[in-house]
């Protein structure tokens, strides 16, 4: 069955490609193909985002001795669909004194950047939309643009709670960018390449990077997951929309679909951080110990998703367990602990590679 689907997929994409190039000139065909891929990705990840929201609500319920949504559709599977439908049909409010242009721009900024980042991930050997040679750098760059959207939202909505939230977001992202970058750099030392597909290739032969780099890699992973959680503005780093302090934070003045973009972007960002971790530490779509390597029909994308979901679950676990940090403690954690540790770790990794102590 599965083999059929995979083959069909490949055949279908191949057929569409051939057909496009046969009916129109090469330039137009390429552009059409891009658009088609973009639409497919958009649809896929809008749905993925919705189900991540549902997963979060279910996981929260399990942590909290509840059942979670279970009335809408079988096991509550359509709950977030209903939410999306409602949000689409909800009125878009605004106030008089907002900066209209920036206010309307901000949610798109956030959602577009997070959707763009998804393009470069190697979900499986064939399933990668955009394999550029500076993949890691691209991810790193794109994921930090999103904060501009948050800053715009906070600034443009002319609301003091929103402004405080946006400013917190700014300082949080600027600080934790460093840790994300440096911990990724540590791993790039091992791979010697920024191209994501090559990073996966390195792991196919030499084992997952977290094993190859052993101690420094594990430290890098811990730092990355802390900084990554902070980058996505999730608890315990959710100072941006700290409910008990700032109400709804930077998106206080947004309603309907514009709010939904922020809401969805948070979950897609979580997916991105988890995917980066999977690609750089856990061998992307590679199966553990190569157990499905010989099986040609096995959808490798499944391994990728399983790993991503495990890391997302870990991040949800943080959220439903830890209290929130205060803003100065947040900065202390980054600049006094994570950053020095990261720099030392980078040197250790360099020594490990120099002395050929890798496994």
């Amino acid at each position: 069955m599965n083999v059929l689907i995979i083959n069909m997929q490949l055949n279908i994409t191949r057929a569409i490609h051939d057909w496009l190039f046969s009916v129109m000139p090469e330039g137009a065909a390429t552009i059409t193909e891009w658009v088609l891929i973009a639409v497919a990705y958009l649809a896929l990840f809008a749905v993925a985002g919705l189900y991540l929201v549902l997963l979060e609500r279910k996981v929260a319920a399990w942590f909290q001795l509840r059942l979670g949504p279970n009335r809408v559709g079988p096991w509550g599977l359509f709950q977030t669909m209903a939410d999306a439908l409602k949000l689409v049909s909800k009125e878009l409010t605004s106030t008089d004194r907002i900066d209209k242009f920036l206010y309307n721009l901000a949610p798109y900024f956030v959602i577009v950047t997070s959707l763009t980042a998804i393009a470069v991930f190697p979900f499986s050997e064939q399933f990668q939309a955009f394999d550029i040679n500076i993949g890691v750098f691209f991810l790193f760059a794109i994921s930090s643009i999103g904060v501009i959207g948050i800053l715009l939202a906070g600034w443009a909505s002319n609301n003091k709670f929103a402004l405080i939230g946006a400013m917190r977001s700014g300082l949080q992202t600027i600080s934790y960018e460093l840790s994300v970058g440096l911990s990724l750099l540590t791993m790039v030392l091992l791979t010697g390449s920024l191209q994501l597909s090559e990073i996966v290739e390195v792991q196919r032969t030499g084992g997952w990077l977290i094993l190859q780099g052993h101690i420094p890699a594990i430290i890098a992973f811990c730092i990355f997951i802390i900084a990554g959680t902070a980058e996505t503005n999730r608890a315990p780093f959710d100072l941006v929309e700290a409910e008990s302090e700032l109400g709804a934070g930077f998106h206080t003045e947004y309603s309907g679909m514009k709010f939904a973009y922020f809401f969805l972007a948070e979950f897609i960002n979580m997916f991105i951080i988890a995917s980066i971790a999977v690609v750089l530490f856990f061998g992307a779509w590679l199966s553990p110990f190569g157990i499905t390597e010989g099986i040609t029909w096995f959808p490798e994308v499944l391994w990728f998703l399983i790993k991503v979901l495990i890391i997302i679950f870990l991040m949800m676990w943080f959220r439903w367990t830890f209290p929130r940090l205060r803003v100065d403690q947040l900065l202390t954690l980054e600049w006094k602990y994570l950053l020095p540790l990261n720099l030392i770790n980078l040197v250790i990794m360099a020594i490990v590679i120099w002395m050929k102590w890798t496994i």
Partner: protein, 198 residues
Amino acid sequence: MGVDKKRFLNQYEAEGLKQVMPEDFPGKVIPGGNGGNIVVTTLDSVINWGRSNSLWPLYFGTSCCAIEMMQTGAPKHDFSRFGFEVARPSARQADLIIIAGTIVNKMGPVLRRLYDQMAEPKYVIAMGACAISGGPFYYNTYSVIKGADHVIPVDVYVPGCPPRPEALLEGMIMLQEKIKTENMSKKVNPIDGFDEGK
């Protein structure tokens, strides 16, 4: 604020029936409307399905009923099963105000502002005796509004002092049923004409 007699509308008065309630009765009855002869179109039913299953309440509780409202969200009663658990701290993102507690004269304008800030479609549940009529604070008090429906239009009334969590759940499910009978083309904003007593 306070009880402004111009705003009263009596159900019997509205239907042209005999006046049975005294003129100075400090309460208002929203005339029964929304009859059964509504043609439910497919689009309506899809939108209504979405809206009814995704009622996000506003964080809003003024007094004792708020504790029972919290209890409704807690493990034993758990309104998250119906998708109600996404409580929003900002009125812009909420669909539903559960007026859990007494509304006093100072709070009245705030409640009204919160209601006005909410995006359409918006719904209101008056939870408990105080929100319905002033409850135990009806007599001899100078500061209590005798019923939150003097301030904003209410969809569902849940009696009790405070109502049990089951009662609130029942009220919320009733609201879902009400939403399922809505008609997009005939839907009127409940606040239209509210201040004039229509």
